[in-house]
């Protein structure tokens, strides 16, 4: 039988392996982080950084975490240097991504300690904000996962999020938040249907079709909000879903406020991510969907209706994006603003890629982005010497670094973006 002959390189020969190359790069990055930490973050004049882990009103209050800034950061420098040198000298090149992940965590901790030195900072509040910021992005990412798993690239997610936000505000103002939410989901589904019709049936280029949806929604909602909402303010004043505390769970320190003191959008998003994971990887129809994304011709020869599967999933993706968009209005501020999604749909697509086309991965990536985003907001309040423009870039840089460095190469569905033409 022709099995691949596998052997591992003998250690006495010098070979240019990709693991070694990666290890060198990782080592260099870690040493660079150590340098920054030493030159900037460790240069604090005394002072403790105080992290509040709970609020006075909490049932089980944790004491504040008090960190002596200088010593902590010098320890961070030492660890980063050790990791960096170890990776640089490594002969096997193993453990590069673990070291990089660890290194970044330490670096961010050092940064936080430096920025907070001599002040107090609410960690719990930041984590709660992280979740809130992650939801629309995670929903954009999940919408992307659903449609790209059946090989339809959905650039229109940005526009569909915006349409969900708009519909939620308008219908919510008139008929209440529940009807508003349902309407937003339906409108999202409708755009999903339009995209599917364009790209599956009429084989319009997928990117162009998505861009058209984005431009259309942006133009229409901007027009209505500037011409109509400004005149008739009651049309843009929707009731907001309140937070529901889950008994007992919401009292857990740190975790409770983040996951269990939120409104139905956050719970809905978490449930959807779990449901989508089960659906895609453990059910019959999920298997059909993935086969259509990987090898539509094979699916077709086995009697799976490629076109129908694509329609269904792109519409589902649209509905998820509609839900995520409604969160911005019905879950947060109750009113629609011009272009209020502001690129979250695109970040959602990035989250999908970083999450390797997996719902949980997309959520994780969205959380990283949300963390960086809420961190930069808090930092702006702490008045660090870093210009706010640079801070605003942090979430994007964090996402790129995490993706490129730690997640590494990922593989998209093999037929992604390609129309299927039946013989």
């Amino acid at each position: 039988m022709a099995m691949d002959a596998v052997a591992s390189p003998s250690s006495n020969r010098k070979l240019d392996t990709s693991a070694l190359r990666q290890s060198k790069i990782t080592g260099a990055i870690l040493l660079f982080l150590a340098l920054i930490t030493a030159l900037i973050f460790a240069q604090v004049e005394g002072g403790d950084a105080v992290f509040r882990l709970s609020r006075p009103t909490d049932t089980w209050a944790l004491p504040n975490l008090v960190v002596p800034a200088g010593p902590f950061n010098w320890v961070a420098v030492a660890i980063l240097t050790f990791l960096g040198v170890r990776q640089w000298m490594s002969k096997t090149g193993k453990g590069a991504s673990l070291a990089l992940g660890l290194g970044f965590a330490i670096f961010i901790a050092a940064f936080l300690v430096w920025a907070t030195a001599g002040k107090a900072f609410s960690l719990t509040g930041m984590l709660q904000a992280t979740m809130v910021r992650a939801v629309p992005i995670a929903m954009g990412g999940l919408a992307g996962v659903l449609s790209e798993r059946v090989a339809v690239v959905n650039i229109g997610i940005e526009g569909i999020l915006l349409s969900g936000a708009f519909t939620g505000a308008l219908v919510g103002s008139l008929l209440g938040n529940w009807i508003g939410l349902i309407a937003a989901i339906l409108v999202g589904g409708m755009f999903g249907f339009i995209l599917a019709a364009l790209v599956v049936t009429y084989r319009v280029d997928q990117i162009i079709a998505g861009v058209v949806i984005n431009l259309f929604v942006l133009g229409l909602t901007s027009y209505v909000s500037s011409q109509v909402f400004s005149e008739y303010r009651f049309l843009n004043n929707a009731p907001v879903f309140r937070a529901i505390n889950i008994p007992i769970l919401s009292d857990i320190p740190v975790i409770g406020p983040m996951f269990f003191q939120q409104n139905i959008f956050v719970y809905g998003a978490l449930i959807m991510v779990a449901a989508a994971t089960y659906y895609l990887f453990y059910t019959k129809h999920g298997l059909h969907a993935r086969s259509v994304g990987e090898h539509p011709q094979a699916a077709d020869t086995l009697g799976i209706n490629v076109y129908r599967v694509r329609y269904v999933h792109v519409i589902m993706g649209g509905m998820v994006a509609g839900f995520g968009g409604a969160f911005l209005t019905l879950g947060l501020v109750g009113r629609f603003d011009d272009n209020m999604t502001n690129g979250r749909g695109f970040i959602g697509l990035a989250a999908m890629i970083f999450g390797r086309w997996h719902p949980v991965g997309a959520l994780m990536a969205a959380l990283i982005f949300g963390f960086a985003d809420s961190l930069q907001q808090k930092m702006a309040l702490l008045q660090t010497p870093i210009p706010s423009e640079f801070l605003a870039m942090a979430p994007y840089i964090a996402t790129i670094v995490v993706v490129a460095g730690i997640v590494g190469r990922s593989r998209m569905p093999a037929a992604d973006g390609k129309p299927y033409i039946k013989e």
Binding site: A2, A5, P9, H285, T301, I304, E423
Partner: protein, 503 residues
């Protein structure tokens, strides 16, 4: 189950792929189908399996005419096809591929993979297939992937199994195993259709032979009645020389010199392990070996499309280890890649466009930034004709060509220049005997003109027929050399070396 095709005609625009074909397929029998590249074999089988709808004629199953509206219908009627290009999802497991479309399920639509695995094992046992249901397809060698295709159709309780060139990508050992499976299926009362270009195979396994030419059945016979030479003539319509004519061996200076070459796979495992050899002008060096022993990586590294981890490659005495594929191409490298669809062509480009894929920038085909399409078309037409690429025109896109004609197009492109070094991986895979004769003669011509020729093939007969020297690869190393300075060429010895025996 018995099947009859009556007066089947299938057209693609102007092209008549099948015209008025009558064919009988009987239970417990292997029907062998022979025919030139583009004769219409695959088309006919696609009609039978429901993938294509015939323009005329009907399919009769056990006396009842049937109509298929899609590929699902064929399989429901008990007709299963193992395609020329496998229809497997590479990132799925064996069990997932097998049950796709007819999954056993539990509550909440959940996939019941436990049952699926059990069913796969049952089929394994009945027909002696030995496939691990949990293996990922992309990690399996082609021979095993093919068994997965067979399990797939058996799982759907097919009574008719169609094999379209199943042996084209198999190693000799795999072919032997495959024939065992075919016999087991036959004994179980299945009706089988077997398409191949290898005459000795059809003589060995078929119970009845039909020959197709230009979309029509031109002959029917029993395997005992005809020799391979007669079959070849029946197929091509002219006498074919099955032997390679070779001038005496007179090697020139060393052209390609490989020293201590080591190549790694993506996961850093060794593909080629410290290999050294050289190829001279006027010499054909054959690399024999069971697939998966590093030949693919070696060829890619020589062509400049695979990173080298250690050692050197030199050409005319110059170190070219790190030079680009294009630079090598300009030095006179020709490369016939192993997987033509993946690395050789753009399937939705036309023949003319594909013909200049590697030389479009040449002065002959472009002026400044604009292409000189007249020159391209002229060149493409000339070489398509010389290599007998059967196509209505050079403006046809490549995916409309038959498998063999796609291969001929690649070979034509690579041989259409003044080359120094010819690297040919499976140059005649999927070709009919007439085309093989021609391409072999072209390879010999290149050798006699002063080229160095390197041939990689798992087809031992081909390697022996063409090569002046044969190197055997096993687990990434060159383990034996035959011919010229090495031991005398002996088919059995080479086979043993390929299997890893130390001689």
């Amino acid at each position: 189950m018995d099947i009859e095709l009556r007066g089947i005609t299938k057209r693609f625009g102007e092209v008549v792929a099948n015209s008025g074909v009558n064919l009988q397929i009987k239970a417990g029998e292997v029907l062998g189908l022979l025919g030139e590249n583009g004769a219409g074999k695959s088309t006919m089988m696609n009609v039978l399996s429901g993938l294509y709808r015939p323009d005329e004629g009907e399919i009769v199953i056990d006396g009842k005419p049937v109509q298929f509206d899609g590929p699902g219908d064929g399989i429901r009627a008990g007709i299963g096809m193992v395609h020329q290009h496998f229809m497997l999802v590479p990132v799925f497991t064996v069990a997932e591929n097998v049950v796709l479309g007819v999954e056993p399920t539990g509550p909440f639509d959940s996939l019941d993979l436990k049952t699926a695995r059990k069913q796969v094992r049952e089929i394994n046992e009945t027909y002696g297939l030995e496939v691990d249901p949990d293996a990922l397809i992309e990690n399996l060698p082609v021979g095993i992937q093919q068994r997965v295709e067979i399990i797939k159709v058996l799982f759907r309780e097919a009574d008719v199994l169609i094999f379209d060139e199943p042996t084209a990508v198999l190693t000799p050992q795999e072919v032997t195993d495959f024939f065992k499976i075919v016999r087991a299926l036959k004994d179980a009362g299945k009706a089988l259709v077997f398409i191949t270009h290898k005459l000795h195979e059809i003589l060995e396994i078929a119970d009845r032979i039909n020959v197709l030419r230009a979309g029509q059945i031109v002959g029917e016979c029993l395997p005992g009645e005809k020799t391979d030479i007669e079959l070849a003539e029946m197929m091509v319509g002219r006498p074919v020389n099955l032997e390679v004519e070779k001038k005496p061996y007179a090697p020139g200076e060393v052209l390609l010199d490989v020293k201590d070459l080591t190549i790694l796979r993506e996961d850093d495992s060794l593909a080629v392990d410290d290999v050294s050899f050289s190829v001279r002008r006027n010499e054909v060096v054959g690399i024999a070996g069971v697939q998966g022993n590093g030949q693919s990586a070696l060829v890619e590294a020589l062509a400049g499309v695979h990173r080298v981890a250690g050692g050197t490659i030199s050409f005319e005495g110059k170190d070219i280890t790190r030079t680009s594929a294009r630079a090598r191409h300009k030095m006179g490298f020709a490369h016939i890649p192993e997987d033509r669809l993946k690395n050789g062509v753009v399937t939705n480009f036309t023949i003319a466009e594909n013909m200049v894929l590697n030389s479009y920038y040449d002065e002959r085909y472009s002026k400044g930034v604009s292409m000189d399409w007249n020159a391209v078309n002229e060149h493409a037409a000339e070489y398509a004709a010389a290599f007998d690429v059967r196509t209505p025109s050079i403006f046809e896109t490549l995916n409309h060509l038959s498998g063999g004609n796609q291969q001929k197009m690649v070979v034509a492109r690579e041989m259409s220049r003044d080359t120094q070094l010819m690297i040919a991986a499976h140059p005649t895979r999927g070709l009919d005997v007439g085309s093989i004769e021609y391409i072999h003669s072209r390879l010999m011509h290149a050798r006699d003109e002063g080229d160095a020729v390197l041939i990689v093939s798992s087809e031992l007969d081909e390697v022996i027929a063409l090569s002046d020297r044969i190197l055997v690869m096993f687990k990434g190393r060159i383990v034996a050399e035959f011919g010229a300075g090495g031991r005398p060429v002996d088919k059995n010895d080479i086979g043993l070396a390929m299997a890893g025996a130390t001689l």
